[in-house]
Symmetry: none
Subunit: 261 residues, 2 copies
Amino acid sequence: MNCLLKMRAMREQLSVNERKLADFILDNTQLLRDYSSSQLADAVGVSQSSVVKFSQKLGYRGYPSLKLAVYESYAGASIANDEDQSRHLGQANSPLSTLGQKKLEVLENTVNINESEQLAAAVQAIRSARCIQVSACPGSVSVARYLTHQLLELGCWAVFDEGGQLQHKIADSLSDDDLLCILCDFGGEESLVEVANRAHEHGVKVLSLTRYNYNAASIHSDIRLYVVPSEDDEALQRLLFRSAQLHVIEGLISGVLEGNG
Amino acid sequence: MNCLLKMRAMREQLSVNERKLADFILDNTQLLRDYSSSQLADAVGVSQSSVVKFSQKLGYRGYPSLKLAVYESYAGASIANDEDQSRHLGQANSPLSTLGQKKLEVLENTVNINESEQLAAAVQAIRSARCIQVSACPGSVSVARYLTHQLLELGCWAVFDEGGQLQHKIADSLSDDDLLCILCDFGGEESLVEVANRAHEHGVKVLSLTRYNYNAASIHSDIRLYVVPSEDDEALQRLLFRSAQLHVIEGLISGVLEGNG
DNA sequence: AAATTATTGAATAATTTATTCGTAATTCGT
DNA sequence: ACGAATTACGAATAAATTATTCAATAATTT
């Protein structure tokens, strides 16, 4: 749960002042060390109370907690950047090398953003589910298929409605022993949200794997997993996004395997 | 000017209460994180003002400064201990961590084994193909679907025969402007080999992505890409194998994207 | 032993942080 | 496009935390 990452990921979702704060902190992380809430407020040009509210919106108890978290993730980041980077998946001049770096970055971010309790809960949910329905927005269909396949291979009862017309019907037939997995990228898809909502209200356990932000689909979820998008051009971003989704899924599957083995 | 060191060094010259404080902090460094001055005072059994004075005696402006300094030197120490081990994609104890290391290893091997000319050729072949047929052995079906999806999204004419019964028919209709992509794991599948063979003989370009070894399918290929399997138990190995296949595929797609962009 | 100095905590002042509440801006539904 | 509802924002203020003062006591020096 890296604080700076979280800030960057949420940036788009923030209001004007909140974004000002986020940008300032991202740009002047080291300054925060000796700023009080009102000093920060002055530096950014907002009120002290906005600073506190911003801290709380990000999930901290208040400004001091945010400060510490920022400090933590700043220290953490500078370590990760220092060494290793660059030798790992980023060899010479092959199509795999260019991708390697970026992919590594996205995967690292994705690993960081997901809380291990949520992951553990997801593994547990998969293991104990009677039936699993997979639903996905168009951009994540291929990932959904992959997930469904893996689940079937694990011996889970999993269905994925390719076309999407039957999603509601299937969802309605789920009970509280069952699991609904929602995969989506930018999280809006109305029909998906409705499926999640209805299922959730009926007591079905809902697991979502979405872009990290305030997300319509994840609201109706019991277990929330996230992907942090990269900042490349659209096509590459989509590719990396799926790659990160796949990574999380692989993690879940291997988690289930571990428990079984 | 490491704060914890300083504390230890000064220990002998401190008064009774100050020493109590120093000892407590040295023993319970991580607790300090969420202690206020009075909580610390209570925990140690001294007054709140003693805590502040202790902070100042050590050279800090007050308690918050001490706290930060302690945190700094604690974080510094734990970093120094960790050193490279374990933090990469393998953070703490999440399902993603166990996988992270192994996955990274497999991907690295896979990146290393593939010659960049072959990769470049593959990208070129995809880019210039009129139609692309994807064929896969059962273990790689989900990867094949993923590839097909990506190709379609790129605007390539791609087909994948889910059931596999039509593979021959489709293959027979390919011409030498076309590309056949063979995905398989252990490379034996007779029907696949035959498809590859026949297509190859008809002048169709054949691209194979297989396990690295002497491989019946790759013999009949123009472009040969490989995956190096891991040495885990079967289920995990399969998972990692597919993950590596996906990585190569992502590399190809991003290669094609780069050329277009 | 008396004087000086250092240590300590209760009380309190100062500062920092968090909340409340009224207004302004934005979003949503029609 | 309009009004209703939600959300964002900051001034005022409450709450909490931190720092200082001061008086009492303990330690040290002479």
